[in-house]
Amino acid sequence: MSDPAIAHAAQFDDATQQREAATFGMWVFLATEILFFGGMFLGYAAYRRAYPAAFAAASRHTLLAFGATNTAVLLISSAMMAFAVRAAREKRRAALAWRLFATAALGLLFLGIKGFEYAREFSEHLLPGASFHFDPPYTNQAEMFFYLYFLMTGVHAIHVTIGVVLIAIFGSRAWHTDAFARNDTAVDLLGLYWHFVDIVWVFLFPLIYLVERHS
């Protein structure tokens, strides 16, 4: 369905080839992200196996309410992004714009909740380093758990921030110009990125908040 009207870059033969190349490129990029996060998950797995009791105790100190809400917020924003991609394909500019803004807003909400959570933990001296404080039995290993917690959720938050910024830009571009009416591939790719960021959180949530909640 190569629409002749869609312009394509010089090095491609037609628009279909351009879209397939861009989409394939995005999936290869997601594979690199899988391995990038994989290194941290390996560190988590190694130390959770080595210090199960300490990880369980430390996990109980994480704020499950914040984590659960955040997961829900990100899942909803992922669904909203899926709606946005559909709107882009159906060339409905207004729907695309406000759905993108909604997704970005949910992303911001996620970051806000995360910010509050970090502030709470910071006040409870759970930030690893000189000021770290945890009741005696598991001081050292709990510091390891919280190091991994701040590391992995921090890197994930950076990815969410990048996503929110891009979605906002795409939203305003959809609102003001008809760029995406002519070529909606970019919105599809941004959607793939946003869903990937959501999947990383889907795995992060149980590993951090639900290590051992039963009494």
Binding site: A10, F12, F36, Y47, L148
Partner: protein, 551 residues
């Protein structure tokens, strides 16, 4: 065998090609033409090669005497770190993929450019930004952790600009990922009509596999360096033994990238050799499909063997045995390639132009390098040889004897296509022989030094090792001269070289079907591929010779 080209007038009638499509600095620095980006990389990595080479020269001079004396231990430690970092990340890994790969991949598959030209330019800028970051770290005081950055030394005890150097490598790493991603998409999506996978030249197969490794391994290096840098910055981290951390986790993450990285360095050279041997033996490659499958299996198996760097690191002996048997298995695809190259020569019509000399040099030295890898894969022997000069000799035989020989062979083979000029043949042959001789004199004694037990990274050593070290330094001086020669006559050929014409070697391959240097969009008329690669005919070459000699 270029006796049959017509003698073109020295002054070329100015035909539009990618070189004269713009002369301003801006047209070069902002180009999205894959051919120009290839040249930008060529200049950059050549500069880095000589910076890294200078460090190596100083180290070899220091090792002339057991008590050293030329440089302090602190400076020597910075020298071998600088030599390692620059040679690995700023010469060997980029060399063939970004120079020959950038130039040739679109040409060989009949495309106008790579899939994402602007991303291609961005990857050069990322590479240069990373390179300048590393150079600044070196000039500002240097780093003495070795290119391996083992914790806890790198994260807690080393002083020096570790963060700046790690940042430099981190940024350059994204340049590698961008290049790998670009090539994977280009090779999948932009092949000329009729160009099926098994009609692709093997250079494309190796660049494709190298790109897979680049894309899958480099992110793990990025996260590993980030973790090390964070631990150095904040004093707490997951590798910190005081917090119950395990330094071996760093080694696992580092070598998960760094062993596939050595296949990033050698696979493209294998691709170049798979192009040179058939062309100068006038015969199609023996067992094309097996060599292609061997390439892919090297790429995959390369990810399974990293533990052989950690046999004596107190890694579990059972994991050691798993890694040892896998390391033996990864040697098989490389052996297949060597045998197939050798078999290609059977009943060929072999000529000995400079690229072919480099190809023979590659096969000989790579065979020695590969086989000595088996010594290091054998557990009990590795206990004795690990971290000695045996390991130094092993990986230099692969990287310098293999990768650099392959790069130089490819550079000489495609120089006429890149610049439209021929270089001085006898000087080039002299350089090839000098490099081969200098290389062996430098690194073969180091096998013996390693077996005698001389550890690596030593500015001062026990007196009984001096004789072999003097031999090695003598070889290094010859090798240095050998490397300066190509720089001279290739630059000289830019101005005074004879015009090369479209196909000076009568080679097959789409890149030889367009003009030299090629036009901006590579092909005036889009090529269609109808036959297998390497359609050479040795008998025809012999008959052609008889006719010309009778006439």
């Amino acid at each position: 065998m270029n006796t049959t080209t017509r003698e073109l007038p020295i002054t070329l009638e100015p035909r539009a090609n990618y070189l004269n499509a713009g002369h301003s600095i801006w047209s070069w620095l902002m180009t999205t033409d894959h051919k120009r980006i290839g040249l930008l990389y060529m200049v950059s990595i050549t500069l880095f090669f000589f910076v890294g080479g200078l460090a190596a020269a100083l180290m070899r001079l220091e090792l002339l005497r057991p008590q050293g004396g030329l440089v302090t231990s602190a400076l020597y430690n910075k020298l071998f770190t600088m030599h390692g970092v620059i040679m690995v990340w700023f010469f060997l890994i980029p060399s063939i993929p970004t120079v020959l790969g950038n130039f040739l991949v679109p040409l060989m598959i009949g495309a106008r450019d790579v899939a994402f030209p602007r991303l291609n330019l961005a990857s050069w800028y990322l590479f240069m930004a990373g390179g300048l970051c590393v150079l600044w770290a070196i000039i500002a005081g240097g780093v003495d952790t070795g290119w391996t950055f083992y914790t806890p030394y790198s994260s807690t005890y080393a002083n020096g600009h570790v963060l700046a150097m790690a940042a430099g490598i981190f940024i350059a790493g994204f340049g590698s990922i961008a290049t790998g991603l670009n090539f994977i998409v280009t090779i999948h999506k932009m092949r000329a009509p009729g160009l099926t996978w098994f009609r692709l030249p093997l250079f494309i197969w190796t660049i494709y596999t190298t790109s897979l490794i680049l894309v899958l391994a480099t992110p793990v290096l990025a996260i590993t360096l980030t973790l090390m840098a964070l631990e150095r910055l904040f004093g707490v981290g997951i590798f910190n033994p005081a917090m119950g951390g395990d330094p071996l986790l760093f080694q696992h993450l580092f070598w998960f990238y760094s062993h596939p990285a050595v296949y990033i360095m050698i696979l493209p050279s294998m691709g170049v050799i798979s192009e040179l041997i058939p062309c100068f033996a006038r015969k199609s490659l023996f067992g094309y499909k097996f060599v292609a499958y061997a390439t892919i299996s090297i790429g995959v198996l390369g990810f399974l063997v990293w533990g052989h760097h950690m046999f004596v690191s107190s890694q579990s002996i059972y994991a050691g045995m798993v890694f040892s048997i896998l390391s033996f298995m990864v040697a098989i695809p490389s052996a297949i390639k060597v045998f197939n190259w050798t078999a290609t020569l059977y009943k060929g019509s072999i000529t000995f132009h400079t690229p072919m000399l480099y190809a023979f040099g590659f096969i000989g030295l790579f065979t020695i390098g590969g086989l000595t890898g088996l010594f290091l894969a054998a557990l009990a022997v590795d206990v004795h040889l690990h971290d000695t000069y045996f390991v130094i000799a092993h990986f230099h035989y692969i990287m310098v004897g293999g990768a650099v020989m392959g790069y130089l062979g490819g550079l000489h083979f495609w120089w006429p296509k890149i610049t439209g000029r021929l270089y001085c043949e006898w000087l080039a042959k002299l350089a090839a022989v000098t490099i081969f001789a200098g290389f062996n004199l430098t690194f073969f004694p180091q096998f013996i030094l390693g077996f005698l037990g001389m550890p690596r990274r030593y500015p001062v050593y026990a007196p009984e090792f001096q004789v072999l070290n003097v031999l090695s330094t003598a070889g290094a001086s010859i090798l240095a001269i050998g490397y300066l020669l190509p720089l001279a006559y290739l630059l000289w050929s830019l101005r005074h070289g004879k015009p090369a014409g479209a196909n000076p070697w009568q080679a097959t391959g789409l890149e030889w079907k367009t003009a030299s240097p090629p036009p901006r969009d590579n092909f005036t008329n889009a090529p269609v591929v109808t036959e297998e690669p390497y359609q050479y005919d040795a008998e025809a070459a012999e008959l052609a010779l008889e006719e010309t000699s009778h006439v």
